[in-house]
Symmetry: C2
Subunit: 481 residues, 2 copies
Amino acid sequence: MTEAEQALITEAGRQLGPKGVIADPQEIAPWVSDWRGRVHGASPAILAPASTEEVVTIVKLAAAHRVPLVPQGGNTGMAAGATPAADGSQVLLSLRRMNRIRSVSAENRLAVAEAGVVLATLHDAANEVGMRFPLTLGARGSCTIGGLTSTNAGGTQVLKFGTMRALVAGVEAVLPDGSVHDGLTGLKKDNRGYSLDQLLIGAEGTLGVVTAVALRLVPAVAARAVAWAGVDSPLRALDLLRFLDARTTAVEGFELVPQDSLDLVLRHVPGTRAPLLGEHAWHVLVEATTPDSSHDITAELEQLLAAALQEGIIGDAVLASSEAQAEAFWKIRDTISEAERAEGQTLAHDISVAVGDMPRFLTEGAKTVEARFPGTRAAGFGHLGDGNVHFHVRAPTGTDGPSWYEGEGHVISAFVHDLVVAAGGSISAEHGIGQLKRDELARLSSPARMMALRAIKRAFDSRELMNPGKLVTLAPDGATP
Amino acid sequence: MTEAEQALITEAGRQLGPKGVIADPQEIAPWVSDWRGRVHGASPAILAPASTEEVVTIVKLAAAHRVPLVPQGGNTGMAAGATPAADGSQVLLSLRRMNRIRSVSAENRLAVAEAGVVLATLHDAANEVGMRFPLTLGARGSCTIGGLTSTNAGGTQVLKFGTMRALVAGVEAVLPDGSVHDGLTGLKKDNRGYSLDQLLIGAEGTLGVVTAVALRLVPAVAARAVAWAGVDSPLRALDLLRFLDARTTAVEGFELVPQDSLDLVLRHVPGTRAPLLGEHAWHVLVEATTPDSSHDITAELEQLLAAALQEGIIGDAVLASSEAQAEAFWKIRDTISEAERAEGQTLAHDISVAVGDMPRFLTEGAKTVEARFPGTRAAGFGHLGDGNVHFHVRAPTGTDGPSWYEGEGHVISAFVHDLVVAAGGSISAEHGIGQLKRDELARLSSPARMMALRAIKRAFDSRELMNPGKLVTLAPDGATP
């Protein structure tokens, strides 16, 4: 521990009390590695403020002592954006004690949640007033509102409701100088200059610490219908999406699953079974919902899928006949990554292209990768309707993990990213940049984008004390403002 | 004309050709005063690029010669954000020649329009492919996509579709160093760092020049129903909105009109008549639409209003029986400002508070202003469902215009803004800051907000060459980076 860190931690303990500083290495250990266990950091302590004022105290102390802070919520990020440096030179700032839901209003369709509120807790609070916070994802039991906001998280219901960027009505954040931006007013229209709220969404803690968020609520779901359809190709899957889109506004989940991924799940995840009897090259999980309890959403989806079958868009389909079966369909989708890990080494790429370009990217991209790296298996699955898939490349059978990731893995990922850029896409659709994609972002972005990102970072945090090493670093000539 | 301006204009003419520079004072004159005729500027010429490359040329020349540029679209702004300084030290950069719709796709639900495309032209282009760009406002025949984006414009359909911030899928802009930010990819998910698109929306040309915009389209309207309802109070109007909101998703326009405003329209605007026979203290214009031609939207709205009448929420209501009558209802709403001008001097305030707080603000705010400034009449009208009204204060009868605006007018506006801030609201809901509200923004914003706005401005445009004097100016100590 450096002297500066010691001073920060001691003073923080004095001002925040014993609960405000976690110094026990055993308690620290689970939080210094990323969720996937790929990146390992160190922190001399975890600072754990319980209020916005305490965050202000910490940010000011860190500035005074020039100690970098790494904000962290549930530590479920996919890009190691909340993992401190390995040399212990950065101090974790956990927002988990800030877990109050300050307000939830059905009338205003707004909730204000502190950064440490767990997503599932917010879901419950909204439900209790007959409303719903529509964003959801696999880590809902651990991920926090602050992290979701700071990474502009997506998930499975983006098709209808958008990412966090569309669902955040305002942000409260402590800026690097210790001042507080209060964007929690819940105004629907506010044109007082550049949108600081939008700037902080997806900033990954590099411009300040998000302490609370105003969130838009929508009417609760009265009923849902979940179906599984088999299709010949990603293009047919997109045809199905457009067929449904033209006829209903009820579809909010539309997930693409290749047969290969389904096979892996059936092999490795106990209790799973194929929803359809026949084989299909590709599959689609469709979820439709209604807030209107008098509307028979199952009948509507069934009718639409029957029509799609008749038009030859899909090869077969089945409606979940119970909530348990609906959950079983979703379980297949949600355990693909887990099944891949059980099978062997897998490189994950969270990428997006224009929705209309995705079918070709999936088909040709996979072929191109497999041809270039013999023995690998490439496939994309996920949010077809958002133009966003998780494009995974599995190592050849028998490959040794760590060395493959560090060696050929890097080459393959760079190759995939090049394909994405050539297709006009993004190398980070919903997982963010963190530290894992930072260098790729710099390599593959236009000079205009990198200039602008650095200029913004420098404008807010020229000393790089807010989550340094994540998203963007200042060029050497810019390290001193 | 300064030597630097002369050099800029000459070189621009050489590189852009004769169409690229307008030097005739007669042609310049209409563009150097703001739309309301309140602010008068001067410009030695108008630079008129026809392509993004030509904008790059101009921005680089302006940077080389240190000549400030003032981007302008249709010059319909309400805050003099596109009016150059009176001393002729700034050069107008007109985007009107960049009027190409680069693409419009029903399948992708996207259009890409250059900055100079007039809103009504985009409406037509979307209609032609069976789609719709839902944002609209009174100036639709003159205002441009670049200006709408740069001011984060709102209008009358925000309730359902949001402001430009929600409808812009991406921005192409020339940054102050002449580099081009290309955000036109049309990606639905893209987490490559801070959102430059969102930063440029509402930046009023102070961070760069918006040259083209990707815009979200929605299905075309198959039918609309327009109704006029009389209510006792703004609170009852809000009750009506919530009553409708709980029962339908079809409402997209919900405009509040006080009896006083209706009276003025009937007095000053030829061919107008009161929609209802009886007197009501307040009125609401409701528009509901459907993209489904088999749905009887008129019957739905009629039924809902009948139920609201029965529940005592409204005092009376009438459905427009024809498109002509629907247009007549809208004409009342759209000519309130014109009628006020005919009546005498009026101070306009484009303000917002939380939706639930608006009824009280309207009632008590008007009383407070009238008590404090005897003889004035204060009333708010407009977008109740967005928490945004145009809060107008009319001068006492017989007041002399210019001196009143400059004298007591300033005091009254500051008083209104103080009320808004005390209510947790915004002094600019949809019109932006421009030069008219710049000092009020600085006076009434938190240190955190002003610090952040200045830091962003300095990061992009430390020499203040992009629309200087608008939105935010750099503090003296920040003028040199």
